[in-house]
């Protein structure tokens, strides 16, 4: 835990910066690779000595050379493991740091960013593109260093043994390099096409299954199968095209390599016949040549790795460089927030569409206010603007007299708690969801607090009825909490939060009348300890607040207490009538209504 989140913002985010940052690691890895390749060259020479000794009946010399091979091989292996570990972990560190930066940047961005970049796209950047960057700065760097050294080391051995044979055997090298290069680029393209094809098929399956009701109702089973078959065939075709490339790569490389081996065998054999090289030299040369083929192929891949790594990085930049539309203000306030919220002439448009027009209202610290309006009246927008979850215009919203745009985001969002309408729960335990705002959900009193909040939100008994009670994992894949349970769990999460101002956005849309009444009691209790702003269309909820503001089409159309508003003709009174009728109907029992015989 030495890394605090704050420190992460200091990680270099450019490729160059990362390279510089990890320079010492690369240097250490490079040093080890140098040692390893030097030792491998020694090994080849010792093999030469051993073979020559064995074939010329010098047993003692062979033994010494063999022992030397032993020693050199072991040390070389150790150096190799260490170098790989070091360089690869540099790549992993880059990945780790950039991913931390990524989350940090995402957290600063607002809804307008997430609308332009869907989750899938962000995830693809956080996984695929980041992997490409890691490969560039780990595998790619290692390959370049190790190939250069391996090349030098093998060439040194070969040239020492026979310059003529070396030149002859290297005739195939440019070919091998070119072929690898072209293969790796095409491999990349075809792999991408392959992934696109499976992505397309996946979309097709998703649509077909998500729309299963329509499929059934319209008898679309046959045409859906046909449509799937098309994408299935397409994917098959793409995988086979990739298979052809993958399959031909081995033989083509193998053939080129084999040509090299043949040259060495034939020409080397002839040289040995002439006595130009010793049998030991021949074996040693051959071993060195074998060592050469992998680095050559690896170098062929480097071009593609660099290209993909840079492309991946560019896409990451799209997130790194996104400018947050909401920035923390400079004003420092030490004293605790009292909770006076004032809105003055707030006008707000989403793109070109006006949402709020000249809205003004005020809630004194410890007071309560209901904002009532029909769907689309702008009441939810007003709620999120209070705590700057969207770009609040300057000079419109004040907390204890300070413009929220001047205050630090930590102070504004830390003191104005907003609980959204559509309850998003994290796929963790109920306890962790409800105790989301607790600094330490493991503190001794946390369980009690969580339980109390659940009780207040009228969801306690249902949670206790879950298979693992408070330890049940909720969320999309979890035990399917009903919509109402999810909403009340989210409400419990909001109630548990200790902040001077609590903004509840329509917390009762999915609960029945009896539960609603009990929750309203709990909300009533909340009023005692803080400023409460309740966004609702329910009259029973609104009437409990000190003051009610009626919003219609982005404008304040009425302000007053329940009694005042209910008495006057207008939207609020209409709401009251509608909901009274609803309650009347609901209380009507089906069995008392006379069923008509048919």
């Amino acid at each position: 835990m030495t890394d605090t989140p704050l420190a992460k913002r200091d990680h270099p985010i450019t490729l160059k910066g990362q390279l510089r940052d990890k320079a010492w690691i690369y240097l250490a890895g490079g040093g080890l690779l140098l040692v390893q390749q030097f030792l491998m060259a020694r090994r080849d020479f010792f093999v030469r000595d051993a073979v020559d000794a064995a074939t010329t009946l010098r047993g003692g010399d062979a033994k010494i050379a063999a022992l030397s091979i032993f020693a050199v091989s072991i040390i070389a292996a150790l150096a190799r493991v260490a170098s790989r570990y070091i360089v690869f972990s540099a790549g992993r560190n880059v990945e780790y740091e950039l991913r931390a930066v990524l989350l940090d940047r995402l957290q600063a961005l607002g809804p307008s960013f997430f609308r332009t970049m869907p989750t899938g796209e962000i995830m693809s950047r956080a996984t695929n593109d980041l992997t490409q960057v890691r490969l560039l700065l780990g595998f790619g760097v290692l390959n370049v260093i190790s190939s250069v050294f391996a090349f030098a080391s093998a060439l040194y051995v070969m040239a020492t043994i026979s310059l003529r044979l070396t030149i002859a055997s290297l005739l195939t090298v440019p070919l091998l390099w070119l072929v690898t290069r072209s293969f790796s680029t095409r491999l990349f393209t075809r792999t991408r096409e392959n992934q696109e094809a499976i992505g397309h098929m996946s979309d097709r399956v998703l649509a077909s299954l998500a729309g299963v009701r329509v499929v059934r109702a319209f008898g679309l089973g046959g045409s859906e199968a046909a449509a799937f078959e098309k994408s299935n065939e397409k994917y098959l075709e793409k995988s086979l095209s990739l298979a052809r490339l993958r399959g031909s790569m081995g033989p083509v490389m193998g053939t080129i390599n084999a040509v090299g081996v043949l040259i060495v065998f034939w020409y080397g054999g002839a040289l040995m016949d002439d006595g130009a090289i010793t049998p030991g030299g021949f074996v040693s040369f051959w071993l060195a040549l074998l060592r050469l083929s992998w680095p050559l192929m690896a170098l062929g891949f480097v071009a593609a790795i660099v290209q993909r790594g840079r492309a991946g990085y560019e896409r990451l930049r799209g997130i790194f460089d996104a400018v947050p539309e909401v920035q923390s203000g400079p004003l420092v306030r030490e004293e605790p927030v009292r909770g006076n919220v004032k809105v003055e002439h707030l006008t707000f448009a989403y793109k070109d569409k006006p949402v709020l027009r000249d809205v003004s209202l005020e809630v004194p610290a410890g007071g309560s206010l209901a904002i009532v309006g029909r769907t689309g009246s702008g009441k939810s927008t007003l709620a999120v603007l209070l705590s700057r979850l969207m770009p609040t215009p300057r000079g419109a919203v004040f907390l204890d007299g300070d413009d929220v745009c001047d205050l630090s985001l930590a102070r504004v969002r830390g003191s104005i708690g907003y609980a959204q309408q559509d309850a998003f729960l994290f796929s963790t335990t109920v306890t962790k969801n409800i105790g989301y705002s607790l600094d330490d959900v493991d503190a001794p009193d946390a369980d009690a607090k969580v339980k109390e909040a659940a009780r207040e939100a009228q969801v306690l008994s249902e949670i206790e009825g879950l298979p693992d009670a408070f330890d049940t994992v909720v969320g999309e894949r979890g035990v399917q909490l009903s919509g109402g349970q999810r909403q009340r769990t989210a409400l419990a999460r909001a109630l548990l939060r200790s902040c001077p101002v609590l903004v509840l956005d329509d917390p009762l849309s999915a609960v029945d009348a009896k539960t609603e009444a009990a929750i309203l009691e709990a909300i009533e209790r909340q009023k005692a300890s803080r400023t409460l702003i309740l966004i609702t269309h329910r009259v029973v909820a609104a009437r409990r607040c000190d003051k009610i503001v009626v919003l219609d089409d982005g404008e304040v159309v009425a302000t007053g207490t329940h009694d005042e508003l209910a008495a006057a003709p207008g939207l609020y009174a209409a709401f009251a009538r509608e909901q009274a009728l609803e309650a009347d109907l609901d209380s009507f029992d089906a069995d008392t209504a006379l069923p008509v015989p048919t």
Partner: protein
Amino acid sequence: MTAAATNGAPKNAPKRRAEAALAKFHEEGQLNTYDAKTLLRLWPYVRPHSSQMVVSIILLLLGSAAALAQPYLMGQGLDSIGKVPGGLVKAGVILTSLIVLEQAIAFPQMYLMQVAGARAMADLRRAVFAFLHTRSLSFFDRTPVGRLVTRVTNDVDAIGEMFASGALNAIGDLLRLVVIVVVMMRMDWQMALIAFASLPPVLIGVNWTRKRIRSAFREVRSKTARMNAYLNEQVNGMAVVQAFAREEESAAEFDQINSAYREANNRSIIFDATMDASIEMISSLCVASVLWAAGLHAASDRVSFGTLFTFVAYIDKFFLPIRDLSARYTLVQSAMTGAERVFELFENQDVDAPDTHGGEKTDKGVPGAPALALDHVTFGYKPTSTALRDVTFQVAKGERVALVGATGAGKSTVASLFLRLYEIREGKALLFGVDVRDWSSEALRSHFAVVPQDVFLFPGTVASNIAAGDETPDMARVKLALERIDALELLLRREGGLDAKVEERGSNFSAGERQLIAFARALYKDPDILVLDEATANVDSETESRLQRAVEGALSGRTALVIAHRLSTIRKADRIVVFHKGQIVEQGTHDELLEKEGVYAKLHALQFAREEVAVPSGRPPAIKESTPPAPPPE
């Protein structure tokens, strides 16, 4: 988070509890026992392509033989230097032809295997997809769609990778190992024994690392999944994170996951690198042993250079497959996991429209019978709940019946039962006088067209959505359908017209436009019976009047079952059936029912109040009809 990690044991207890709950939860699919029998269940899919596979395996053996003969021939050739004139040339020619043969075989061998594997997987995917479309709707209500998509794509892919990567070539590898040992033993058994003296520790070492690599890889996989899930959730729940000002805490929590991911990867790097380096090292050690042995021999008996060279070359060939072994093993394992999941799905028994009733299926109704009838039907989505209780009513041919009731009264359920999307608990549903269970489900559903409340659009174009089911849309009919609901002009005005692309779930169309497309889709089908579940979504006044006109256009002159919300729609019905708390409480015309001053009168007053509140036309969302939960997208 930070504080908790350093705190004492008692405080950590709840955390461990939560962690344990999460671990248990994520266990799904991490099957620990691998059963090779699972792979045998793939046989029916592989069999049609088995001839290609057999040819591939024969070629594999041939290729292996060609590869293995090379070092031996090289040795022979080298030994002939200075002894047999032209021996080197002769060996070289044979060697060249062997290499050519080996490489020439390699491509068809690999490709045939992949073709067979990929085709078998395409068949398997088709089977999974078809299987899913024969599941009952309650199965989809329970299972997240994303998980099902994974079965068709990723899981089948994991199996396919086994063929694509050449993991099956391991058969050839094993054979190679045996042949190399035999050949070396025959050439010089003493030297061979010395060369392979290091083999037992190698095998022990490989086995030791293999297990660790396997668990390291598994850990990497689970950590990767955890990290992606966390990040995904952070992005989706960013509004909550920001509203609760939990950015720092999230970052700290993510740091733990991110570090764990890095550590897991670093561990696997060590094993990976060690494996590679050790193989290289041991191969060197074996060469050294051989040379040492040759030196020892030298005192008594000269070892030929050719033999020595052959040994060195064989040793190189010996260790290559061992190096690949662990990677291949991992692939086979994930293939088994994939197969396990796919076949687990195949065991599901929730069949759509199961054959519970016995007897011959019909595709014709009884002449003169009412179009639709429910006869003392009781139904619930779950065994513990009841959505409909003893419901009986009829719809005559050509009649337009409106079902009305409060939220959750059960009226949407009725339509699902006629289409036999769910099985009735008691009583029966009849279409043209025949029990829905006696209809072949294809014939049954062909009589209906449904306009649902939540319109679902498929990826494609406007036209392909309207002409759902037709490979090439009949444009004249598409236009006719749109004209009847007076929506042709509106959609033609859009960029791309009727060929405009429909994005995922129709997100590039407004709610009103989606509704209109759904109406047109129903009319294109031109069914005997139209089921309309009126949407309660908020639309602007222009769209509202458009939709009202569309309803008229769609319903005129047709048997129709309308789950109605608008007063205008309700009033125009021939008959109104009133649902209340799962039962039918009243039936009759608008005027008759109003006179009764019962449930309908209350509903009417409520709807009147609502439409008044919803000036000019929108309605508040409180009256959303509760349909059974649609499977959430994953």
